[in-house]
């Protein structure tokens, strides 16, 4: 197993349970991939990476239950703050101070696109070539007339899928939104994909799976090459280790899967020059308590200018800390990630001071830069650019001899989410087991 994120560890656990001898090679010095815990106060954790789940994330819920992990609701009570031009405003609820009819027209168009895409095989969508040839920015320039819709669309897309409209194809946007349950479900907290968090942090899922797998998980082993021959497959790590196996699962994001040297070579790429990184930087500001509650605010804000395009209360329940999490997404994530740490903090504090006047200085500021994370290359997930679905889609899950593929980007259900990663893990484990008779037959 190459990669100890949720996909790799889920698959490894399934395979180990079936009696398969398995080794998990992880490049980092930790497991969890795009989940990562940040200890914000002694024993209190916030999610520096993937965080949210909803009731439709059934495989994630099952996995958590089996690991003794519970969900805790995301607190959204109180007013919101908006900085969408013309100064900061407070509003009850989450609805932004923008023209509702214009936003409705935007959502009508997005709804029609998501309804049109073929969810199991987006490349077979009627008109797929046309939809995959244009970027979301080009689409928006032609389709959106009202300035409020044009203002809100990149913010919405950044929040939903951490994508810059200029680099994502319309087909991928439609697939992502459909695959996650549609625009209403993906956008919603209560009754939607952000309803809950993992109590104590999402990183515990991978940590508990890895604990069960024990010594089978090997850290600090970046895989550089995968060589197949008549008798099996050899996996070569950065420091020259060779691991011999009957089959290999590559459970890393597409850009990383593409960077491995395969012999024989891949018949189709895992990523192209159009494939982009999910553009997300998460900023966590830690306070002694969630002071915004005393002002009747939920901590939710949306801003038209960065760095923090949205903020949300991420305080651990029943723990002595208030955590405000800011999302820097889309093109802004690249700009912000390139700043030095002092400049990032200064920009963050200036903006939070405007959004939440009277908030004391935070005790700590944590920045999780997923854009430049070498062993993720982006978050939430790879952003398929123009032409990608047509080129990559048909072979997304097709094994290359003894090499199988997993990861949230191989799941057309809940693509980009923890749920998609876990579903891909179960799928690939079943695939390896069912190939067993032919794949592992003695000569």
């Amino acid at each position: 197993m190459v990669g100890a994120g949720l996909a790799g560890l889920t698959a490894a656990a399934d395979l180990a349970a079936a009696g398969v001898e398995i080794t998990v090679l992880e490049a980092r010095d930790r497991v969890g991939g795009r989940t990562h815990g940040i200890e914000v106060a002694p024993g209190a954790w916030a999610d520096g990476g993937a965080a949210y789940l909803g009731d439709r994330h059934t495989e994630l819920h099952k996995l958590m239950a089996g690991l003794g992990l519970a969900a805790t609701p995301t607190a959204m009570d109180g007013g919101s703050r908006f900085a969408l031009g013309g100064g900061e405003k407070t509003r009850a609820g989450r609805f932004p101070p923008l023209n509702a009819v214009a936003l409705g027209e935007l959502f009508d168009l997005l709804y029609d696109l998501t309804a049109r895409v073929r969810p199991d095989a987006p490349w077979l969508t009627p008109g797929a070539a046309g939809l995959d040839a244009v970027t979301a920015a080009e689409w928006a320039a032609g389709a959106l007339r009202h300035p409020d819709a044009r203002l809100f669309f990149p913010l919405f897309l950044g929040e939903m899928m951490a994508a810059d409209p200029a680099s994502v194809s319309v087909l991928h946007m439609a697939l992502y939104l459909r695959s996650g349950g549609g625009i209403r479900y993906l956008n919603a907290f209560s009754g939607g994909a952000q309803q809950d968090r993992v109590l104590g942090g999402a990183h515990q899922i991978a940590e508990r799976l890895a604990a069960q797998l024990g010594a089978r998980v090997r850290l600090n082993r970046p895989v550089r090459a995968i060589r197949q021959d008549g008798g099996g497959v050899s996996v070569h790590t950065g420091d020259g280790e060779e691991h011999r196996a009957d089959a290999v699962v590559v459970a890393v994001p597409p850009l990383l899967a593409q960077s491995i040297d395969y012999r024989p070579g891949l018949p189709a790429p895992r990523a192209t020059t159009a494939t982009g990184r999910g553009c997300a930087v998460k900023v966590q500001l830690v306070y002694r308590e969630p002071y915004w509650h005393a002002h009747g605010l939920s901590g939710w804000s949306v801003s038209a200018t960065g760095p923090l395009l949205s903020t949300v209360d991420d305080s651990p329940p029943d723990a002595g800390a208030g955590v405000l999490t800011g999302f820097v997404t889309g093109a802004e994530a690249y700009r912000f990630a390139a700043l030095d740490p002092a400049a990032r903090e200064a920009e963050t504090l200036r903006q939070v001071g405007e959004l939440f006047p009277g908030l004391p200085p935070p005790d700590a500021v944590h920045v999780s830069d997923w854009v430049n994370e070498p062993y993720s290359r982006g978050c939430y997930a790879a952003v398929f650019g123009p032409g990608d679905w047509l080129r990559l889609g048909p072979g997304l899950r097709t094994p290359h001899g003894r090499v199988h593929w997993a990861g949230t980007e191989t799941s057309t259900e809940f693509f980009g989410l923890m749920e998609g990663a876990i579903r891909s893990g179960h799928r690939v484990a079943a695939e390896v087991l069912s190939s067993h008779a032919t794949l592992w037959r003695e000569p």
């Binding site: 609820g93 509702a100 009819v101 409705g104 959502f107 956008n187 919603a188």
Partner: protein, 73 residues
């Protein structure tokens, strides 16, 4: 816009055939995102532009129909 037309619109946007003239949009599966889709349909089909706050005051098909027929604001 009559009550029947408003009910049909709610049912379509909510994908919920159980909606009646007195169903509250926000108790029948609706949220602010879906509310904007009701407002865009009202604007498109009846030429009346309502605000989100207007809708909060008229969140049932019966109330929405009377708001819309009450004339543009």
């Amino acid at each position: 816009m009559n009550v029947y037309q408003a009910t049909v619109l709610f049912r379509r946007v909510l994908e919920n055939p159980q909606v009646t003239a007195e169903s509250d949009f926000f108790h029948a599966g609706g949220d602010s995102l879906l509310a904007t889709r009701v407002l865009s349909a009202v604007a498109r089909e009846y030429g009346v532009e309502l605000t989100f706050e207007d809708f909060l005051l008229a969140p049932t098909p019966a109330a929405l129909a009377s708001t819309v027929t009450g004339g543009p604001r």
